[in-house]
C-alpha cells in the first residue's frame, strides 16, 4: 500500500506500507546496525522515534520469542529499504510484517534509506509523519511540524511501569511493597534499587547475573520512597527522551547520590550528569548503531559498543568528575566516574542486545564498586 514519509523540513519520500493502512509520527532517526532489528523495535529508548535502518534487507531472520528488550514494540514506526516477508531462521516464529501489525506499529519499505540517512546527517534528526492516507505529502510536512520536539520531551513517564517489580525467570514479576513503603529483600546480595525509565531487559538479566538483589521501581519514585526500601545502591536505567525534561528524577537522583553508590547507563548516565550539576545537549543526529569505538581512558582499551542516544553530557559542566570513556568517532563523553563518591556511569550500552559484547565488563565494574563499598 502506497505510503509517504514526510519530514518537518519539507522533504518527503514515497514508499509502501507493509503493515496495512495507518499513520504515525515521531522523531526520525537512523540506526546503522546490520543485525538486531528485533531488539531495536522493543527497546523503550526508541519510544517516540521512527527508526530508519540503514541496512537495506530487514526482517530476514523474522521475529523470535527470545530476542526482545521489553514486552512490546516501542518504536513509533519502522522505516526500511526492503522488508522480508518470508524469513529464514530456525528460531523464527513470525515474520516482521506480521509482528509489527500485531503490535499496531507501522512499517514502511521502499524508502531510499541511504538518501534519508544522508539527509538526517546533514540536517539533523527531524520530526516526521508516515501515512498511507495522503493525497498531498505537503499536508504531512505540516503535520510533522506540529509534532512536539524531542528536546524538552519527557518520555520516561510514558514508558515507566506503574509498580515496582523484580526480574524472575526471564520476566518481570510485580511485587507488593509493605504498607510502610518498605520491602522484604528476598536475597543476600547487595540490595539494588533500579529506576526503570525505559530499561532494557538485557540490563536486568546482566544485573541479576552479577548476584545483585534487584528491585525495579518506577521513574516517578521519590528519593524518600527509595530510602524506605532500604537499598544499598541505586541504578539508573536507559530510556527515551530528553533527560533535562525529567526534573523530578534529576532531583531525586541528586538527593540519593550522596548516600548510595550509584551507577547509570545511557539516560541514567545523563540523569547522573544533571544530578551532579552538569548539563546535557542534543547531538545533531545521535549515535544509533553497533559499531561505535569507545576508549577506556585508564587502559587505552577500545570497546566496539552498542549505542543509542540523542543527548550527551557536557563534561566541562561537571566538577569532581573524570571522564572514564570517550567516543573515538567524535570525542564525545561516553562514561564518567565521580572522583570522590562511588558513582559510575556510561553513555553506551554494555548490555548490548543488540550489539557487541565488548563492554559487559561494566557490570563487573559495578559489582566490584559495590564490593568495595559494602564489603561484600
Amino acid at each position: 500500500m502506497r505510503a509517504f514519509l514526510a519530514l518537518e523540513d519539507g522533504t518527503w519520500f514515497e514508499g509502501a506500507s507493509f503493515t496495512g493502512s495507518g499513520r504515525a509520527g515521531g522523531e526520525v532517526i537512523f540506526n546503522t546496525g546490520m543485525t538486531g532489528y528485533q531488539e531495536v523495535l522493543t527497546d523503550p529508548s526508541y519510544t517516540g522515534q521512527m527508526v530508519c535502518m540503514t541496512y537495506p534487507h530487514i526482517g530476514n531472520y523474522g521475529v523470535n520469542l527470545e530476542d526482545v528488550e521489553s514486552d512490546r514494540v516501542r518504536v513509533a514506526s519502522f522505516i526500511v529499504k526492503e522488508c522480508c516477508k518470508t524469513p529464514s531462521n530456525w528460531r523464527a516464529k513470525e515474520s516482521l510484517p506480521a509482528y509489527l501489525e500485531r503490535h499496531g506499529v507501522m512499517g514502511i519499505e521502499g524508502i531510499d534509506t541511504r538518501a534519508l540517512t544522508r539527509h538526517l546527517r546533514l540536517h539533523g534528526a527531524q520530526r516526521g509523519i508516515i501515512s498511507t492516507e495522503c493525497s498531498d505529502p505537503r499536508d504531512l510536512v505540516r503535520q510533522a511540524q506540529e509534532l512536539p520536539s524531542m528536546e524538552g520531551l519527557n518520555l520516561a513517564d510514558a514508558v515507566t511501569p506503574k509498580e515496582p517489580y523484580v526480574w524472575e525467570n526471564g520476566r518481570p514479576r510485580i511485587v507488593a511493597l509493605k504498607p510502610d513503603g518498605g520491602y522484604d529483600w528476598p536475597g543476600t546480595g547487595p540490595r539494588v534499587v533500579a529506576f526503570d525509565c525505559g530499561i532494557k531487559w538485557n540490563i536486568l538479566r546482566l544485573l541479576v547475573a552479577q548476584g545483585l538483589d534487584l528491585l525495579v521501581v518506577p521513574a516517578f519514585f521519590t528519593a524518600e520512597q527509595v530510602r524506605k526500601l532500604n537499598p544499598e545502591s541505586i541504578f539508573l536505567s536507559s530510556g527515551p527522551g530528553d533527560p533535562a525534561a525529567l526534573t523530578d528524577m534529576v532531583h531525586a537522583t541528586s538527593l540519593l547520590v550522596n548516600d548510595y553508590p550509584t551507577a547509570g547507563i545511557c539516560l541514567g548516565h545523563q540523569l547522573l550528569g544533571l544530578a551532579l550539576g552538569g548539563r546535557t545537549y542534543k547531538l545533531k543526529f545521535g549515535h544509533h548503531g553497533l559499531n561505535h569505538p569507545v576508549k577506556e581512558i585508564a587502559t587505552g582499551h577500545i570497546e566496539i559498543s552498542s549505542q543509542n542516544h540523542g543527548f550527551c553530557v557536557d563534561l566541562a559542566s561537571l566538577d569532581n568528575v573524570e571522564m572514564t570513556h570517550v567516543n573515538l568517532n567524535d570525542n564525545t563523553l561516553e562514561g564518567f566516574a565521580h572522583t570522590k563518591k562511588p558513582i559510575i556511569a556510561i553513555q553506551y550500552h554494555p548490555e548490548a542486545g543488540p550489539g557487541p559484547h565488548d563492554s559487559r565488563s561494566f557490570f563487573v565494574r559495578y559489582r566490584e564498586m559495590l564490593r568495595r563499598e559494602l564489603g561484600r
Binding site: 546496525g33 540503514t54 534487507h57 529464514s88 531510499d112 541511504r114 569505538p293 576508549k295 557487541p356
Partner: protein, 1076 residues
C-alpha cells in the same frame, strides 16, 4: 602505541605465481603493505617471483628480488640484506609457509630476523589441524569430530572412527588442494593418498562432514594492545561442502540474528586471542547447523587471505594496509580511516548495500575434469558486485563474470527438463547451479524441495525466486503492453526491473528488442542509475574516498569534476588467458595519468586486484564491464576518452560498441584493432606490407574446413575466431581429427567462423612487445619461446633477449614490427607473435593492445611500458619519452608458466594450443641456464643435480633428444628410457637402460616414479594413441611432484640449466641492482 623504532628494514614475501587459490589478492595485499611500510619510513625488501605484480615494481620497495620463493633462496636474500623483521602474513599461504620453513631451519635466528604480525608458534597453532583443535577445545568452541593422519594406517584407523561422509583436508596447503569428500573407505584412501603427498607436512585431517550446514566467515583485526574489530561478515550461498573459494558469497551475513552474530563475533575474538595472532588480519570460518543454530569452527587463517581482499573491497576498509601498520606497533585508534578522515581505524564497518562474490570457472579448458564443486578449490577468478539489494547485486555479479550471461535469465521459456534431471543436477553442485535453481523454479519446484537438494538457505532461494517471478512479469507485460517510451505504464515496470538488477540485454531478450533500443527507451523514461558511495559507515559520516557503485535509487552522490579526466577499463574477473598482467597495465595507466595531472577513473569488477584499491585511481567504479554499465559511467563522468587497450580482451570487445555510441577511444583506433583482428582485413594488410603468414582459410562448415585443410595440408591449427587464450584451439593432424573437432567445438561460438592455419612444425616462436606513437616504434622486447610453435604462447616459457636467434633475423623481426605498428597506426602498445621456420619469418598474430608479457618485458628491461603507452595515448611522443635510453641490459630473463593440473585430477598435462596456465614466474640471472633454473624453481620444479633421467619421446623427437641425453650423461645422470627411445639412444652412443611403458607390464615407468627412482621425466608424444598410453605416467609424475617436461626444447633448457648450476648454486640479485 607509536610505531617501533628498533626496526629499520623489513622483508615481505609475496605469493609467487597466480595459481588456483592464490591470485591477485596477494599482489593487492603485498603492494598495500609495502606502500604502508615505506610511508612509515621503513626500508622494504621484497621477494616475489611473479613479474606481473605491482608489488614487484622496482619503485615500490627499496630492494625488489624477483627470485624464486624458496626457503633456500630467501635465506640467501636474508643473508645479503640482513632485515630486522619478516612480515609473513601478507603473501598468502606461500609467504606463510616460506616464513615457517625459514624459522624452523634456524635461518631467522641466525640472522636475527624477527617474525612480526604472527610468530612461529602462532602460525603453527593456527595451521596445524591438531593444535588448532586442541586450542578450540580449550576455549570451549566446537570443531567437527576429526582425526589427524600422517600415514595410510592412520587414515584407515580414523575411517573406522568417524562417520562417513568424511572431509579430507591436508595441512599447509592453500585453497584446499588435495582435499575432498569421501563417502566410503575406497574414496577415503584414494583422496587421502593424494592429500598426504601434497601436504608440506604429510599431514591431513579427516573430519566429520558438516555438509549442508550454513557457512560463514568473519574477518578480524587485532592490534598489539589487544583491540579487536570485525571488518566484515560473509555468508556463503553454497552450504558446507563447496570450498569457500568456489562458493557464491554475500556480505554482510543475511540470515543471522544479532544474538547468533554476536556469538560468532565473540568466538572469533576468543580465537584470535587463544591462537595469539599478535597483530593484523585473520579470517575465521564457521559452520552453523540450520536446524538448531549449533556453531562449529572450521578453520582460521592467521594471515591476510582471499576473503580479506574481498572484505576490504566490500567495506572500503583497507585490511592489508592497516595490518602492515599494526605489525610495526601502531594501534587501531592511531590509524586514521582514510574514507571518513574524521574517524579512526578502530571501528567496525557497517554497510548499506549487498556485496556478492561469484567465482569464475574454466572447466571447458580441462577436458576430463568434472564440473563438480567440492572442498578443493577449482575456480580461477572471481567477480564482485555491489547493489542496494541482493537481487541487484546477484544479477550484476552474474554479468560481471563475462561468461555470456547478462544476468539470471535466458530467453524466457517454460522449462522442458524433467524434474528428476534437475534434482540430480541440484544435488551435485556445479558451476551453473544458479541456473539449475532457476530451472527448478520454472518447473514448479518449491523452495523447500530445492533447499533439500542444494542446502541453499531458503532466504536466498526466496530472493532468486523474486527475480524469476519478475522475469515472468516482464515477459507478460510485453504480451499485453507496448514496450515504448510513450507507454506511461512502462516506467514503473522498467524501474522495478532495474532495481531487481536486470540488464538492458536481459530486457532486450525478454522484449525482443535490441539492447540499444532498451537503452534509449529507458533514458527517455528517465530510468537512470545513480552512483552511491562505499563509505564503511552507511552514510553516518561524510566520506572522502571516491569509491562508487551503481544502483537505481533517488539520491545522487557523484560530483564529476571539471578536470581533464580519463576512464580506464579493467580486465574483470581473472580467467585463464586474462589475469593479473592486465591489471598491472591498468594500474600503471592510472599512475601515468596521475603523473600527467589527469584525473583517472577506474572501472573494474575484480575484487582481488590493485586496480580496485580505492587509492589507486582518483575515482573507482566497482561495476560490471558491460557495454551498458560502462556507458552509464561515461555518460555520468564525461571523460575526454577511454583507455581500452590495457584490460585484455574484455575492454577491447567494448571498443567498437563504445565508439559507435560516440565515446572517444584513446590510443589505437577501434578500426585499427579491427584491422588486426579481422582475418580478411589482416591478410590484406600483410599483403600490402609484403609480410608472410602461414597458409590459412576461414570455414563456416565442416566441408569447407575439410577442403581448406586439404589445400594447405595437415597438420593444421583450428580455432573459433575472436577468442582469447586459445579457447578451443587445437592442432589437427588428419581429417578424422578435424571432424571430431567440429563435433566437439562448433557450439563454442556459433556466431563466429572457424579459422584454419597451417601448423608450422618445429618452428621457433617469438613474441614481440612494442610501443608506438603513430610515428616512431620502440621494440620493447623480443622473446624467444623455449617450446616450439604450437604450444600456446601463454603456456610457453620464453627468454629475453633471444638466445639462439641469428642477429640478422632479430633485425628483420624488428623491421617487420615497426612496419606493422606504423601501418596500423598504433598509438600505445602492441604485441606480435612470429614463427620462424627454416629461416623464414611468419606472422601468427598481431594484437594492438597490452599483452600478457607487457609486465614481464617491463621488468626485464626496466622500461615501464604501460606507463609510457599511457603517456603516448595522451599525446606525448616517443622521441620525448625516449624509452631507448631507459633500457637496461646485461642480464637474461626467463618467463615460465604455471599450471593448475594438480587441481584437476585426470586431466593430461600435455601442452597444446589451448592456453591452460594460470600464472607465470620470472627468473633473472646473468646466463640463460641460471635464469631458466630460477624460473623452474619459481614455478615449483626443483631440477635435480643428480640421479636418473627418464626419457620417452615420439619418433619425430628421437634424433633431437640424443644431444640432450648426452648432456645429461656427461652431467653424471643415469638415463632410463622406454623401448624405442632406449634403442635409439643406445644406437647413438648414449647408455640408456630400458624400462617398461605403463601398459607393458610391471614394474614400469610409473612404478619407478612412485618408488622415487626417477628424478626427472622427459616425455613427448604426438598422435592420440600415444597420448592415451602415456597419460597415466604423466599423472603419476605430477602426483609425486617429479620435475617433468613434455618438449625436447624444454629438456634441452633443463640440461643446460643443470650444467650451469652444477658446483655454483644460485645467487640472488635485486632488480634495482640488475638495472644499476
Amino acid at each position: 602505541m607509536p610505531k617501533r623504532t628498533d626496526l629499520k628494514k623489513i622483508l615481505i614475501i609475496g605469493s609467487g605465481p597466480i595459481v588456483i587459490g592464490q591470485a591477485c589478492e596477494f599482489d593487492y595485499s603485498g603492494s598495500q603493505a609495502a606502500k604502508a611500510l615505506k610511508e612509515e619510513g621503513y626500508e622494504v625488501i621484497l621477494v616475489n617471483s611473479n613479474p606481473a605484480t605491482i608489488m614487484t615494481d622496482p619503485g615500490l620497495a627499496d630492494r625488489t628480488y624477483v627470485e624464486p620463493i624458496d626457503p633456500e633462496i630467501v635465506a640467501k636474500i636474508i643473508e645479503r640484506e640482513r632485515p630486522d623483521a619478516l612480515l609473513p602474513t601478507l603473501g598468502g599461504q606461500t609467504g606463510l609457509n616460506t616464513a615457517v620453513a625459514l624459522a624452523e631451519s634456524g635461518v631467522l635466528d641466525t640472522f636475527g630476523v624477527e617474525l612480526i604480525g604472527a610468530n612461529l608458534a602462532v602460525i603453527k597453532k593456527a595451521e596445524s589441524r591438531q593444535e588448532f583443535r586442541e586450542a578450540m577445545d580449550k576455549i570451549g568452541l566446537k570443531t567437527p569430530k576429526s582425526g589427524i593422519a600422517r600415514t595410510m594406517d592412520d587414515v584407515r584407523h580414523w575411517g573406522r572412527q568417524i562417520p562417513f561422509p568424511i572431509i579430507i583436508r591436508p595441512a599447509f596447503t592453500m585453497g584446499g588442494s588435495g582435499g575432498g569428500v569421501a563417502y566410503n573407505m575406497e574414496d577415503l584412501e584414494a583422496i587421502s593418498a593424494r592429500g598426504l603427498a601434497l601436504s608440506m607436512k604429510s599431514e591431513i585431517m579427516l573430519e566429520q562432514s558438516v555438509l549442508g550446514w550454513k557457512e560463514f566467515e568473519l574477518e578480524v583485526m587485532r592490534d598489539v594492545a589487544d583491540n579487536c574489530v570485525i571488518i566484515c561478515s560473509i555468508e556463503n550461498i553454497d552450504a558446507m561442502g563447496v570450498h569457500t573459494g568456489d562458493s557464491i558469497t554475500v556480505a554482510p551475513a543475511q540470515t543471522l540474528t544479532d544474538d547468533e552474530y554476536q556469538k560468532m563475533r565473540d568466538a572469533a575474538l576468543a580465537i584470535m586471542r587463544e591462537i595469539g595472532v599478535e597483530t593484523g588480519g585473520s579470517n575465521v570460518q564457521f559452520a552453523v547447523n540450520p536446524a538448531d543454530g549449533e556453531m562449529v569452527i572450521i578453520e582460521m587463517n592467521p594471515r591476510v587471505s582471499r576473503s580479506s581482499a574481498l572484505a576490504s573491497k566490500a567495506t572500503g576498509f583497507p585490511i592489508a594496509k592497516i595490518a602492515a601498520k599494526l605489525a610495526v606497533g601502531y594501534t587501531l585508534d592511531e590509524i586514521p580511516n582514510d574514507i571518513t578522515r574524521e574517524t579512526m581505524a578502530s571501528f567496525e564497518p557497517t554497510i548499506d548495500y549487498v556485496v556478492t562474490k561469484i567465482p569464475r570457472f574454466t572447466f571447458e579448458k580441462f577436458p576430463g575434469a568434472e564440473d563438480y564443486l567440492t572442498t578443493a578449490m577449482k575456480s580461477v577468478g572471481e567477480a564482485m558486485s555491489i547493489g542496494r539489494n541482493f537481487k541487484e547485486s546477484l544479477q550484476k555479479g552474474m554479468r560481471s563474470l563475462e561468461v555470456g550471461m547478462p544476468g539470471l535469465s535466458k530467453e524466457f521459456d517454460r522449462c522442458n527438463w524433467d524434474k528428476e534431471a534437475i534434482l540430480a543436477s541440484l544435488r551435485k553442485p556445479n558451476s551453473r547451479r544458479l541456473f539449475d535453481v532457476r530451472s527448478a523454479m520454472l518447473c514448479g519446484m518449491t523452495d523447500e524441495e530445492i533447499h533439500d537438494a542444494t542446502w541453499i538457505d531458503p532466504w536466498f532461494l526466496r530472493q532468486i525466486r523474486e527475480i524469476v517471478d519478475v522475469e515472468a512479469e516482464l515477459h507478460s507485460f510485453a504480451l499485453e503492453e507496448s514496450v515504448s517510451a510513450s507507454n506511461p505504464k512502462l516506467a514503473p515496470v522498467m524501474r522495478k526491473a532495474k532495481q531487481f538488477g536486470f540488464s538492458d540485454r536481459q530486457l532486450a531478450a525478454l522484449w525482443k528488442k535490441e539492447e540499444l533500443d532498451i537503452r534509449s527507451i529507458r533514458q527517455k523514461l528517465e530510468v537512470q542509475p545513480t552512483y552511491y558511495l562505499v563509505d564503511t559507515c552507511a552514510a553516518e559520516f561524510e566520506a572522502y574516498t571516491p569509491y562508487f557503485y551503481s544502483t537505481y535509487e533517488s539520491g545522487k552522490e557523484t560530483a564529476p569534476s571539471e578536470k581533464r579526466k580519463v576512464v580506464i577499463l579493467g580486465g574483470g574477473p581473472n580467467r585463464i588467458g586474462q589475469g593479473i598482467e592486465f591489471d598491472y597495465c591498468c594500474v600503471h595507466a592510472s599512475y601515468a595519468l596521475k603523473e600527467l595531472g589527469i584525473e583517472s577513473i577506474m572501472v573494474n569488477s575484480n575484487p582481488e586486484t590493485v586496480s580496485t584499491d580505492y587509492d589507486t585511481s582518483d575515482k573507482l567504479y566497482f561495476e560490471p564491464l558491460t557495454f551498458e554499465d560502462v556507458l552509464n559511467i561515461i555518460e555520468t563522468e564525461k571523460p575526454e576518452g577511454v583507455i581500452v587497450q590495457f584490460g585484455g580482451q574484455t575492454p577491447l570487445n567494448l571498443a567498437v560498441p563504445l565508439m559507435r555510441a560516440g565515446v572517444p577511444i584513446l590510443g589505437t583506433s577501434p578500426d585499427s584493432i579491427d584491422r588486426a583482428e579481422d582475418r580478411e582485413r589482416f591478410q590484406a594488410l600483410l599483403r600490402k606490407l609484403g609480410l608472410k603468414q602461414p597458409p590459412n582459410g576461414t570455414a563456416f562448415s565442416f566441408e569447407q574446413a575439410r577442403d581448406i585443410a586439404k589445400e594447405i595440408t595437415y597438420p593444421v591449427v583450428v580455432r573459433p575466431s575472436y577468442v582469447l587464450g586459445g579457447r578451443a584451439m587445437e592442432v589437427v593432424y588428419d581429417e578424422e581429427a578435424l571432424a571430431s573437432y567440429f563435433k566437439r567445438t562448433v557450439q563454442v561460438s556459433p556466431e563466429h567462423p572457424i579459422l584454419i592455419d597451417k601448423f608450422l612444425e618445429n618452428a621457433v616462436e617469438v613474441d614481440v612487445d612494442a610501443l608506438c606513437d603513430g610515428t616512431d616504434t620502440y621494440v620493447a622486447g623480443i622473446m624467444e619461446h623455449i617450446e616450439e610453435a604450437g604450444i600456446h604462447s601463454g603456456d610457453s616459457a620464453c627468454v629475453l633477449p633471444p638466445h639462439t636467434l641469428d642477429p640478422a633475423l632479430v633485425k628483420e623481426i624488428e623491421r617487420q614490427t615497426e612496419a606493422l605498428a606504423v601501418e596500423l597506426n598504433v598509438v600505445g602498445l602492441m604485441n606480435i607473435q612470429f614463427a620462424i621456420k627454416d629461416g623464414v619469418i611468419f606472422i601468427l598474430e598481431v594484437n594492438p593492445r597490452a599483452s600478457r608479457t607487457s609486465p614481464f618485458v617491463s621488468k626485464a628491461t626496466g622500461v615501464p611500458l604501460a606507463n609510457l603507452a599511457t603517456k603516448v595515448m595522451m599525446g606525448q611522443t616517443l622521441k620525448d619519452l625516449d624509452p631507448w635510453n631507459k633500457r637496461k641490459t646485461g642480464h637474461i630473463s626467463v618467463k615460465e608458466s604455471v599450471f593448475p593440473f594438480n587441481r584437476f585430477p585426470g586431466v593430461d598435462v600435455l601442452l597444446g594450443p589451448e592456453m591452460r596456465s594460470t600464472g607465470e614466474v620470472m627468473g633473472v640471472d646473468a646466463s640463460f641456464g641460471l635464469a631458466f633454473m630460477k624460473s623452474q624453481l619459481a614455478a615449483g620444479q626443483r631440477l635435480p643435480m643428480e640421479g636418473t633421467v627418464f626419457i620417452s619421446v615420439n619418433d619425430a623427437d628421437k634424433d633431437a633428444v640424443v644431444p640432450v641425453a648426452k648432456l645429461f650423461e656427461e652431467l653424471g645422470f643415469k638415463i632410463v628410457a622406454t623401448g624405442g627411445t632406449a634403442a635409439h639412444l643406445s644406437a647413438s652412443g648414449v647408455k640408456a637402460e630400458k624400462v617398461l611403458k605403463v601398459y607393458e607390464g610391471r614394474p614400469n615407468a610409473a612404478d619407478h616414479v612412485i618408488n622415487g627412482q626417477i628424478q626427472l621425466m622427459i616425455n613427448t608424444v604426438s598422435g592420440k594413441k600415444t597420448v592415451q598410453d602415456s597419460s597415466q605416467l604423466r599423472q603419476t609424475t605430477l602426483m609425486y611432484g617429479v620435475p617433468y617436461t613434455t618438449t625436447v626444447a624444454g629438456a634441452r633448457a633443463m640440461a643446460q640449466a643443470i650444467k650451469e648450476m652444477k658446483g655454483h648454486g644460485l645467487g640472488v640479485k635485486s632488480l634495482q641492482e640488475h638495472y644499476a
